[in-house]
C-alpha cells in the first residue's frame, strides 16, 4: 500500500468541504466544524507544513466521542438526518487518517454516496449543477491518484470528457430502465415538514405567508380557472378547541379505515365544467395534495378521501407529480351526511363568552339559516375589519378578542371566527386550509407560492352539501382577485422578512424577467426530469414501439444496448484510427507495406534512396517512377527540413494512391 498523492488528497478534501457545506440545513454545525478541521489538517502537507499527525488510537478514541455526540444531537431529528450526519462525520474522520490507497478509495466512494444524500434534500437544477462540479473535482482527484504527474487542467479536462461521454448513456439508461415502485419504506426526516401543517391557529398562516418559496406548480390543458376560482383545497379542519383548528381524530380514523378497505370516495361529478391539469408539488414530508374542487385523480399512489382531499399514500420526500381533473360544479356531498353534520357542529363548552352571547342574540333575530348567514356577513362588511399580516396576539378568548376588540387579522382569524359563529348557530361548518391564487406564466403553467396559503370555510346546506364561504373576501376582496401583495399594499408587509427574495422585485421588469426565466427552467426540470415516472416511461415506450408487448420491449432494450455500445466504440475510435502525427513517414511506410506484399522488403538499416536503387529493377517503369517520386518527396520533407505543408502532403497522398494502383 503506497501513500496517496497529495494533490489527489487536497482535491478530495475540497470537494468534501463543498459537499458538506451545501447540506447546511442537514449537517449539524459541530460536524461541519469537524469537517473543516480534518480537511485543513489533511491539506497542510500540500502547503509543505509538517505537523505531527494524530495517532490512530487518538483518532479512534475521538471517533467514539463523536459517535456519542452524534447520537445525542441527532436523537430528535430522525433516522435519516442521523445517518447523513454519521456518514459525513465518518468521512471527516477517515480523511484524518487517509494513509493507504484503500483509505483513499473509501473516502471517494463515501463522497459519491454523499452526493446522492445531498439529492434527498434538494433537487433543483442549480443544485444539480453544483453537484456536477463537485463530482468533477472528485473524478479529477481520482485521476490525480492514478496518474500523479499530469497537470491539473489535463485532469479536469479528462474528468469532464469522461462525464460528457457518460451523459448520453446515462440518459438512455434513465429513459429505458424500469422505474420501480419503492422497495421498502425509508426513514424520512420528520422535523422538516414544510407548507401547511395538520393544525391551524390564527397567526400560523401569517408566518407561512412570509415565504416566497414555491408550493407547487400546475400545468393546465384546456380551461384555466379565473383568479377567484383558484381555491386549492388541502386540509380540512373539523376539530375546534376555541383556539386551534385540527384535523379531527374521528376523521383520521375513518380515512384510515376507508383506505384500508379500498373504499373510494366518488361524489356525483357534474361534468358540465372541467379543469384538467398536472400538479408538481414540492416535497412537504406530508401526505396531503392540493387540487381544485371537486377533484378526480387517476395517478398511482394517490386516493381521494371522504373530505374531498387528495392524499398520497406515502409522505412526499421528493417532488411529486399527479394529474387531476376537477369538476367545480360538483356538489361536495359525501356518502354519510350524518357523520359530516354531527362532527361539524361540535364547539368547546367554555371560552369566547361574548361571541356566544352575540350569536345567541343574532340567531333569535334570524331564524332561517339564509337570513342568519346574511346577517353575519353584513356584520363583517359593516364593522371596520382590516386584513393584515401583522395581527396582534390574541392569547385569551381569541374569537372574542378578534371580533369585538382588535378587528384586524389574517385569513385564519376570519375563517376561524366565521366557522365558530356558524357552529354556534347550529350550522355545520369547517375550516379548509390550502392555497388561494397562483401566478400564471404565459398560459403555460401556474406557480403557487407559500404566501398564497389561505384558509376558508365550508358550511353545510342540507340537500346540497358543503358550500365554500370565504370571509376574508368580505374584508379584502383584493386578496381573492389579485393576491396577497395587492391586498397588503397599504401596510407593505409583503415578504418583509425576506428582503432579498426575487419575488419582492416583481415590479422591476428586468429582475422579474430573470425570476420568471429561472422559474421556467425549474418547471421544465421538474416536469421532465424530476417528474419522469412509470407513466411517462410507458408513454415513451408506446411512442417508440407502438403497442407494448414483451417482444417489442425486449427488442427496444437490445436496440438501446446496441446504441450504448456504439457510443462506447465511438468514444474510443482512436484505438482503430490512431492519430497520424507524421504524414510523410506514414505514407512512406504504407508504400513499404504494399511492397512487402510483393515480397520486396526493406532491410533495417537501408536508407530510402539505397532501398530504391536496390529494388528499382524489380519494378515496372511506371511503378519505379512513382516510387522514386514518393521516396524523394519523403526525403525532402524528412531530411531537407522542409515544412510538410498541406500541398506537399496532398501531393504525396496522390502519389501513394497512384503507386498502390500500379501494383
Amino acid at each position: 500500500m503506497k501513500a496517496t498523492n497529495a494533490k489527489a488528497q487536497l482535491l478530495i478534501g475540497i470537494s468534501f468541504l463543498l459537499l458538506a457545506f451545501s447540506m447546511l440545513t442537514t449537517v449539524m454545525t459541530w460536524v461541519l466544524v469537524l469537517v473543516v478541521i480534518s480537511v485543513a489538517l489533511q491539506a497542510l502537507p500540500f502547503f509543505k507544513v509538517d505537523i505531527h499527525h494524530p495517532s490512530v488510537r487518538t483518532i479512534n478514541l475521538f471517533a467514539i466521542l463523536c459517535a456519542l455526540a452524534l447520537a445525542y444531537t441527532t436523537w430528535q431529528a430522525g433516522l435519516m438526518i442521523a445517518m447523513v450526519n454519521l456518514l459525513v462525520m465518518a468521512c471527516a474522520l477517515k480523511i484524518l487518517q487517509m494513509h493507504t490507497t484503500r483509505d483513499y478509495f473509501i473516502v471517494v466512494c463515501v463522497q459519491f454516496f454523499l452526493i446522492g444524500c445531498g439529492l434527498i434534500f434538494e433537487q433543483s437544477i442549480f443544485y444539480a449543477g453544483f453537484l456536477a462540479f463537485v463530482a468533477t473535482l472528485q473524478l479529477s482527484s481520482v485521476a490525480f491518484h492514478i496518474s500523479p504527474s499530469r497537470p491539473l487542467q489535463k485532469q479536469i479536462w479528462l474528468s469532464i470528457k469522461i462525464s460528457l461521454q457518460a451523459m448520453p448513456i446515462c440518459v438512455l439508461l434513465f429513459l429505458v430502465l424500469p422505474q420501480l415502485s419503492p422497495l421498502w419504506k425509508m426513514p424520512s426526516s420528520q422535523s422538516k415538514q414544510t407548507g401547511l401543517t395538520e393544525e391551524i391557529t390564527p397567526g400560523d398562516i401569517a408566518n407561512l405567508s412570509q415565504s416566497g418559496d414555491l408550493a407547487f406548480r400546475a400545468q393546465f390543458s384546456g380551461n384555466i380557472p379565473a383568479p377567484h376560482q383558484r381555491y386549492w383545497r388541502g386540509l380540512v379542519f373539523e376539530d375546534f378547541d376555541g383556539k386551534t383548528w385540527r384535523i379531527s381524530e374521528a376523521r383520521k380514523k375513518m380515512k384510515r379505515i376507508n383506505y384500508r378497505l379500498g373504499r373510494k370516495t366518488s361524489p356525483a361529478y357534474d361534468y358540465s365544467k372541467e379543469f384538467k391539469y398536472d400538479v408538481i408539488i414540492e416535497p412537504t414530508n406530508q401526505q396531503f395534495l392540493f387540487a381544485l374542487d371537486a377533484p378526480l385523480t387517476t395517478t398511482r399512489r394517490t386516493w381521494l378521501s371522504p373530505d374531498f382531499q387528495i392524499q398520497s399514500t406515502i409522505p412526499l420526500v421528493t417532488k411529486f407529480k399527479y394529474s387531476v381533473q376537477s369538476y367545480p360544479n360538483t356538489p361536495l356531498k359525501g356518502a354519510s351526511d350524518y357523520f359530516d353534520v354531527n362532527m361539524n357542529l361540535q364547539v368547546p363548552e367554555t371560552g369566547n363568552p361574548k361571541t356566544k352571547a352575540w350569536v345567541r342574540e343574532l340567531r333569535q333575530q334570524h331564524r332561517s339559516n339564509e337570513a342568519f348567514i346574511l346577517a353575519v356577513e353584513t356584520f363583517f362588511f359593516t364593522e371596520p375589519f382590516s386584513y393584515t399580516l401583522r395581527p396582534d396576539l390574541m392569547p385569551f378568548d381569541p374569537v372574542d378578542t378578534f371580533l369585538f376588540d382588535k378587528q384586524a387579522g389574517f385569513c385564519a382569524h376570519f375563517s376561524s371566527a366565521y366557522a365558530y359563529i356558524m357552529r354556534l348557530a347550529g350550522i355545520p361548518a369547517r375550516v379548509v386550509g390550502g392555497y388561494q391564487g397562483g401566478e400564471m406564466r404565459k398560459e403555460q403553467y401556474m406557480s403557487i407560492y407559500q404566501y398564497d396559503a389561505h384558509a376558508w370555510v365550508e358550511i353545510w346546506q342540507p340537500g346540497i352539501g358543503w358550500i365554500r364561504k370565504d370571509p376574508t373576501g368580505f374584508v379584502a376582496p383584493d386578496r381573492i382577485s389579485y393576491g396577497l401583495e395587492r391586498a397588503l399594499a397599504y401596510e407593505e408587509s409583503f415578504l418583509e422578512d425576506s428582503p432579498f427574495s426575487l419575488m419582492k422585485w416583481r415590479n422591476t421588469a428586468v429582475l422579474n424577467e430573470i425570476r420568471l426565466v429561472l422559474a421556467d427552467i425549474d418547471f421544465f426540470w421538474s416536469k421532465w426530469v424530476l417528474g419522469f415516472d412509470q407513466e411517462r416511461q410507458l408513454n415513451l415506450f408506446r411512442l417508440l414501439v407502438g403497442e407494448i408487448k414483451p417482444i417489442r420491449i425486449a427488442l427496444l432494450l437490445l436496440a438501446i444496448l446496441f446504441v450504448i455500445s456504439l457510443f462506447l466504440l465511438l468514444f474510443n475510435y482512436r484505438v482503430w484510427f490512431p492519430k497520424i502525427n507524421n504524414y510523410p513517414l506514414h505514407f512512406y511506410l504504407k508504400s513499404l507495406k504494399y511492397l512487402a506484399k510483393q515480397n520486396i522488403v526493406r532491410a533495417r538499416q537501408e536508407t530510402p534512396m539505397a532501398f530504391y536503387t536496390r529494388i528499382a529493377q524489380q519494378l515496372s517503369v511506371q511503378q519505379r517512377e512513382l516510387f522514386l517520386t514518393l521516396t524523394e518527396q519523403f526525403n525532402q520533407v524528412t531530411y531537407q527540413v522542409q515544412t510538410p505543408s498541406r500541398e506537399r502532403i496532398k501531393a504525396m497522398r496522390q502519389t501513394l494512391k497512384a503507386f498502390k494502383k500500379s501494383l
Binding site: K2, F105, I106, C109, F112, F113, I115, G116, L119, I120, Q123, A128, L131, A135, L139, V142, A143, H145, I146, S147, P148, S149, R150, S159, I162, S163, Q165, A166, M167, I169, C170, L173, F174, L177, Q179, S181, P182, L183, W184, K185, M186, I314, V317, T318, F320, V529, F532, D533, L568, F571, N572, V575, P578, K579, I580, N581, N582, L585, H586, L589
Partner: protein
C-alpha cells in the same frame, strides 16, 4: 494456470500489448464503485428520487465509458527486455526493461497514461513507474540464489488509468538468456600449470608477472582500453598501447579434479574465484571441467566463457565423492 498463460502469452523478447495479452477486470475500487451505484439506485427508487437514479446511472455510465478507454490506454504499451548483465549467485540481477516505442514514429508517440506498476508474478512488492517521468531502461531487480541459466519469472504490469475503476494487467514472459555465475569463494589452493606439475614455480606467477610492462606499440582498434598509454595520448601523441611481457611459463591450468577435498559446489565456487583472480592478473588460463575443457586464453570474453561454463555445470556430479 501457468500452462494456459504460456499458450496465451508465449515467450518473446518484445511485446506489444493487445487483445491477446491484456487482462482487464474491475479493480477493488471499481467493485465498490458499482456497489455504491447499486445502493444509490435502491435509495433513489425508495425515495422516488429521479435525481438519485440519474446519479446512479451516471456512475454506471462512467464505469462503462472507462472500460474501453482503460483498455485502449494500456494497449499502447510496448515493452521489451534489454541485455542483462550476469551476476554471481546471491547478488541481485538488474533486468533492464524498455518501455515505449522507438522505431515507429508514424503515430503520435504512444504515450501510456497513468502509473504503471511492475512486479514479478505473484509477488507483492512492485515498483511504480510514472510514464510522464521515467527514463529507459527501467531496472527491475531479481534476487538470485544459485548458479546456472535462470528462467525469468513472468513480469506483471498493471495500470489503472483513467479512474482506477479497472485493473488492466498482463503477465509477460520475457525471453532472455541470463546466466548466474557461481558465487566466488576464496581458496588457498594453487592451480597447477599447464605442464601438470603440482606445486611448481608457476605459483608466484599468480601474484606477479602479469603487470610487467614491456614496450609501447601503436594502438590497434579492439585492444582493451586499459592497455592504452593514456600518458602519451594526453601529451597529444598518437594512440599507443602498452604491451606486457607474456610469460609462457605463467599459463595456468584450472582443473576441477584438484578440488576433491571440498564438495562439488564449493569447488565450483573456488574455481570461479580463481578465474576472477587470474583474469584480474591478466594471466593466461585454461579450464578443465568434467564435461569439457576450455583451452587457455585471456581477456574478458575468455573470462565470461569460463564463468558461463562453470555456471552451467550440471547441478550434481556423480564423479565427485
Amino acid at each position: 494456470m501457468e500452462r494456459w498463460l504460456t499458450g496465451r502469452i508465449p515467450k518473446q523478447r518484445a511485446y506489444q500489448l493487445d487483445m491477446s495479452n491484456i487482462f482487464i477486470f474491475p479493480s477493488r475500487f471499481g467493485r465498490w464503485f458499482l456497489m455504491m451505484s447499486g445502493l444509490l439506485f435502491i435509495l433513489g427508487t425508495n425515495y422516488r428520487n429521479n435525481m438519485m437514479l440519474l446519479l446512479s446511472f451516471f456512475l454506471v455510465s462512467i464505469f462503462l465509458v472507462t472500460l474501453l478507454s482503460s483498455f485502449a490506454n494500456f494497449a499502447k504499451l510496448q515493452i521489451h527486455i534489454g541485455k542483462t548483465k550476469s551476476v554471481f549467485a546471491g547478488e541481485e540481477l538488474n533486468i533492464p526493461i524498455w518501455i515505449g516505442d522507438n522505431d515507429n514514429q508514424d503515430f503520435i508517440p504512444n504515450q501510456v497514461e497513468g502509473n504503471i506498476h511492475v512486479s514479478w508474478w505473484q509477488q507483492d512488492t512492485s515498483i511504480t513507474l510514472d510514464p510522464n517521468d521515467f527514463t529507459n531502461p527501467v531496472g527491475i531487480s531479481l534476487a538470485t540464489k544459485e548458479r546456472g541459466e535462470i528462467e525469468l519469472p513472468r513480469l506483471t504490469f498493471e495500470n489503472f488509468y483513467p479512474l482506477g475503476l479497472y485493473r488492466c494487467w498482463t503477465h509477460l514472459n520475457f525471453e532472455s538468456k541470463i546466466i548466474v555465475y557461481p558465487t566466488p569463494v576464496s581458496t588457498a589452493l594453487r592451480p597447477k600449470n599447464l605442464q601438470g606439475e603440482e606445486n611448481s614455480e608457476s605459483v608466484p606467477s599468480l601474484i606477479a608477472g602479469s603487470d610487467d610492462f614491456d614496450s609501447l606499440k601503436s594502438y590497434q582498434k579492439g585492444e582493451p582500453m586499459q592497455h592504452v598509454a593514456w600518458k602519451q595520448v594526453a601529451k597529444g601523441g598518437d594512440w599507443l598501447s602498452k604491451t606486457y611481457v607474456e610469460d609462457k611459463g605463467s599459463t595456468v591450468w584450472l582443473d576441477i579434479q584438484q578440488f576433491s577435498d571440498v564438495d562439488y559446489e564449493t569447488a565450483i565456487s573456488q574455481l570461479t574465484y580463481l578465474v576472477l583472480q587470474l583474469a584480474h592478473q591478466k594471466v593466461e588460463y585454461g579450464l578443465a571441467l568434467p564435461t569439457h575443457t576450455i583451452v587457455p586464453g585471456s581477456g574478458d570474453e575468455h573470462m565470461n566463457l569460463c564463468l558461463t561454463q562453470l555456471a552451467l555445470l550440471p547441478k550434481h556430479s556423480g564423479e565427485q565423492k
